[in-house]
């Protein structure tokens, strides 16, 4: 009767989206990957770890609905269920916002662990949107992760910071400290990739970045106007109009959960003649 054992729901997987450097696309990535996983039918929650500077709520478009936050839950002022904001577009997606008014010391290791354990029971994927830097907030976001997405621009300071973050993942996290646990599976996601500048030799190639970092590639997100538009509208880029960035994020989310998808560098669709004539605003 061993079959019955496999019927039990496996615990959810915790995936941290991190980078070290700020402004490389962690929150855009967290929003897009979590929306795509939910659209594929997986119960997904995305958590903002940037205490004091909350922004995931704006990128997800739920900023007007925040009542309780991650810190309220850790401090016992609200139950997890009360702080989770259900997405109005995707039934399987939820957002756990962070506090705008506290400081990063409000995140305790025990508190974070308790909340993540509870989320693992209910959700298939728990996406942790890390703050920039390598201090407390970033360390809390990565501490209990099973996997990591390192968001990197093909640019020297970003690649250097990514290397530093990879070092932390392999030294200070829960999995790194347990002799019997597998190490964190880390993959690099290259964002703001500009094919024209790579071709003209102005930008490092994907191969250059991978050679330096020596971790597997999760995906290549092209520089795209769609990203700013999605952020303006408060819509994860994969849920907005079709774009090269959306396609690239869909592919990356697929690879994250084990799909074999050929690596490609998507290009934004050219506007039709009529659209160009009438200069439809984006």
């Amino acid at each position: 009767m061993s079959k019955n054992l496999t019927l039990e729901d496996p615990l959810g997987k915790v995936i941290v989206v991190t980078s070290g450097k700020g402004g490389v696309g962690k929150t855009t990535t967290s929003a897009a990957i979590s929306a795509e996983l939910a659209r594929r039918g997986h119960k997904t929650v995305v958590i903002d770890f940037d205490v004091g500077l909350r922004n995931l709520d704006m990128i997800m478009g739920c900023e007007r609905r925040v009542v309780f936050d991650f810190i309220n839950v850790i401090q016992g002022d609200a139950k997890l269920k009360q702080a989770l904001i259900r997405d109005r577009r995707l039934e399987k997606l939820a957002v756990l916002p962070t506090s705008q008014t506290r400081d990063k010391d409000a995140l305790t290791k025990a508190g974070v662990e308790t909340v993540l354990e509870e989320l693992r029971q209910e959700f298939d994927y728990i996406i942790c949107d890390s703050p920039a830097g390598i201090e407390r907030g970033a360390q809390m976001a990565m501490h209990f992760a099973d996997e990591a997405i390192i968001v990197t621009n093909p640019e020297v300071s970003s690649v250097r910071d990514s290397d530093r973050v990879l070092g932390l993942l392999n030294s200070i996290t829960d999995r790194a400290g347990k002799a019997d646990a597998d190490p964190i599976r880390a993959q690099v996601l290259i964002t703001r990739h500009d094919k024209a500048r790579v071709n003209s030799g102005e930008m490092m190639t994907v191969e250059d970045v991978l050679e330096v970092l020596a971790v597997p590639l999760l995906g290549i997100i092209p520089e795209s106007k769609a990203v700013l538009r999605a952020s303006n509208l408060g819509v994860p880029v994969v849920l907005d109009a079709p774009s090269a960035a959306a396609t690239a994020y869909e592919d990356a989310a697929g690879r994250l959960i084990g799909d074999q998808i050929e690596m490609r560098i998507a290009a934004d669709p050219r506007r039709g003649l009529l659209q160009r004539l009438f200069r439809r605003a984006v």
Binding site: M58, E63, R64, R65, V66, V67, F68, N72, D77, A78, K79, K81, Q82, S99, Q100, T101, R102, L228, R229, S231, N232, L233, G234, L274, Q275, F278, R279, R280, A281, V282
Partner: protein
């Protein structure tokens, strides 16, 4: 009718500005839940009032909020056990 309009769509930048103005107005005024302990306290007080009359658990209360430009709404749902546990 033809699937496209001669007028440009509203640019996404103006949506961004409107969203920021509404959100920041709420955050600066400190009302509408921006004060850190206002809502947990409200929740505790509501629970205490209800408990004077009925038996409900800590998780029975659910507070939802929608901040608007002119108007915000606070929605409070309280779940009771199958049969009302009146004291």
């Amino acid at each position: 009718m033809f699937g496209f309009s001669l007028r440009p769509r509203k640019a996404s930048a103006s949506t961004a500005k409107e969203r920021l103005q509404i959100l920041l107005a709420h955050e600066r005024s400190g009302c509408g839940g921006a004060r850190p302990d206002c809502l947990p306290q409200l929740q505790r007080e509501i629970l205490n009032v209800i408990r004077r009359h009925m038996q409900i658990g800590d998780e029975a209360i659910d507070i939802r909020m929608e901040r608007g430009d002119e108007l915000s709404s606070l929605e409070i749902n309280i779940e009771f056990p199958g049969k009302l546990g009146l004291n």
